[in-house]
Subunit: 229 residues, 4 copies
DNA sequence: TATGAATGAGGGTTCATTCAT
DNA sequence: CATGAATGAACCCTCATTCAT
């Protein structure tokens, strides 16, 4: 009986049964959690949007917190799928091109309006009150992303760059991108007329890439001069 | 005795009177709001920590929200007082020195452990769920700080720099600092051995300043070359 | 047993289901609101008397005010059902008989001791602090009752009676009845030995009817004499 | 020093001292109690309107309830002073004239807009939730008023009228007046265009007097016929 | 004497969760 | 299996009252 149940469960396209409700709950919870955060989100609201019973969350996920964890891990994959880190670049692209692609994809993920934007909002909340879900998220998604960026930076800095410098420069790159996510309330108040549509996003990507490349290359030059002494 | 009492009373640090309870409430509320955020914070917890009655918040501040606004503006001043933006620099310091001071003071504010660290936590939460208190805070504190930074960057870029470039470069600077605040949960998980004591903070300040100066100067050179054409 | 249970369930007086709790709440709220008024009544007290949880009012009615409105409209129907305005009179009864029946039924409603007495108490409080529920009550219950009385009075006054006179006389009739409700605290103190059991109530009905009929007929005569001039 | 303090206190016209505050409190409490009733009235509001400290009520009257009693007895005298029951009639006026005066003065008290209107509102609330203050009020004000009316009615009914008839007829008279006070919310909803200014009030007084006189005289005639048998 | 800061009980309401059906 | 009625703890806030000054 369990087996047959599980075989049913693996069918992803069951639209009216058990899994459908589960999926609707995940979808609705993603919306609500992103909009108002874990605490302010109410099980009632989520169930209502999902067209499910008030007890559905407890039935399918046990409690509110477990549902949240499921939402968080799920949202990450959606976001990464839409804007992969390499932006469809050729595998033999230069480090400069790959840095540009990395920055662009990251910015697009941040400024997107669709369901893929949810992940950013959820992550921002995780930064303030990390939950258990964060650990697995870092291991499976953030660390690999970080590795990609560090690889690019290392190549730009040259083989002799020490790891600390690589890390600092990589952090400097990613920080410039994330700022537009973490501090948007301030930006929208300081510069209320600024819009962030496609041209502006590309402009930002250009600036951050140029800014970072200049700094990294200068760092490489300085390190190399240092080493000669 | 009465006379001496009265002379004491005129001091703002009266330990047993009306203002004392008010101060205790602000202190306790600062802790609690920073720890768990506005929503999750309870008036009961705040009053308990302040050694006051449950009705004290309502009596002294009217309601929870007004208390929060008072905490937010107050914490900002505490933070700014301890680490002023110029870090005691001579007024005739070079733009490079002033940039370094700006970055250093900002980082110290972020990594401080005392009550002055609360402001950062409160601000981070404001970024996710801005309250009405944010607007006044931006007008009175953040915008002036932004002006200082933009002035330094403008001087570094040269007189011919357009405002958009100034803004982008300034943003790149401040973002590198704030990253260590907004994303600390990620950093502490990616690099669990990293500590952020005085030497590390100074090291970070050096890196960010050097990184940014290199990029800004390169930008200035490029713009100047562009203009010649 | 299940079967019989289910057959019982289809009856509106289900004693163990959802509607039962709702009914108990209405019953308990009727008591409490009548005893101490809307403001002084507490949700806690009502739920306790209803044997329900503190949250039951919110669950079944949304809030205290909605519960009150339900109680008010409900109590009116209970009261009217027990003592209908025509007191089972034959449809071809004379206007005098119908006036007597109207006064009798009104007085019986006022002096009744059962749950149907609650409506009077609730209405008395509405007279002092009208709530939104009063408007619908007037439209659906009081105005129709008023129409019945005015019809009787108009017939007694004769076809030539102007509407103002009808209204004034009708008001004079109903006021004599309601006085025994609105001013009972004064009456019971001025004449502490007076009791209001069946014979006394019938005696009152006789007096008010006779008093009013005499006055109305004299008014009709005077108006008619006036018209001749 | 104490002595001089007390000598000041005994002066009734002290405008800035102890008694002045007491008077302001009575005045303010009268307003508030009449507006929102005993329960909904707050000590804060009363003290604020009186320009007094929050603790003034407790200081001058002990508690809220005692203040209310003081207000109630005081308001009655104000009301009776402005519209005395005989309306300045000559002492040798006929019973008909005195009945008219009684009805007029009562109606004017009810429809007045000044501070003398407060008593009616307070009384209406007493009818619903009588307090200890009601007993003394009945003894000192209501019973004497009742005696005056009953005397008039007795004279109209003739010497042979039994006390029960006198009482019933007197009650019928006073009830017609009070109705316009107790049921104004209903009247203003049933007949929203009706106004109650001087001409209308006089018209009401005329109707009630005429209506009652007709009924009383008919009653007298009937009783007399009854007696003959 | 007169104040006003402080009290604590109690108000209505919301919420995640449970359990009999 | 899925439901939704019912739960009770906890929320913020209001209030009359008190007491040290």
């Amino acid at each position: 009986m369990y087996v047959s149940n599980m075989s049913i469960k693996t069918q992803p396209s069951d639209e009216t049964g058990h899994d459908a409700t589960r999926q609707h709950l995940l979808e609705a919870a993603g919306e609500v959690f992103a909009e108002v955060g874990f605490r302010a989100a109410t099980v009632r609201e989520i169930c209502q949007r999902a067209g499910a019973n008030i007890a559905a969350v407890n039935y399918h996920f046990g409690d509110k917190e477990t549902l949240y964890a499921a939402v968080l891990t799920g949202s990450c994959q959606v976001s990464m799928q839409k804007y992969p880190a390499d932006m469809g670049l050729a595998p033999n692209a230069t480090a400069e091109q790959r840095l540009h692609a990395f920055v662009r994809s990251f910015l697009w993920r941040i400024f997107s309006h669709g369901p893929e934007a949810r992940h950013g909002k959820l992550m921002a909340r995780e930064m303030i009150e990390p939950t258990a879900a964060l650990d697995s998220l870092i291991k499976e998604n953030i660390r690999p992303m970080s590795m990609i960026l560090m690889g690019i930076v290392r190549e730009l800095l040259g083989a002799k760059a020490d790891e600390r410098t690589v890390r600092l420069c990589g952090t400097s790159v990613v920080s410039q991108v994330l700022f537009y996510h973490h501090c948007r309330p301030v930006l929208s108040r300081l510069y209320p007329d600024e819009k962030y549509d496609a041209p502006q996003i590309e402009g930002l990507a250009d600036h951050i890439t140029r800014f970072s490349l200049a700094a990294i290359k200068q760092t490489a030059k300085a390190k190399s001069a240092e080493a000669k002494k």
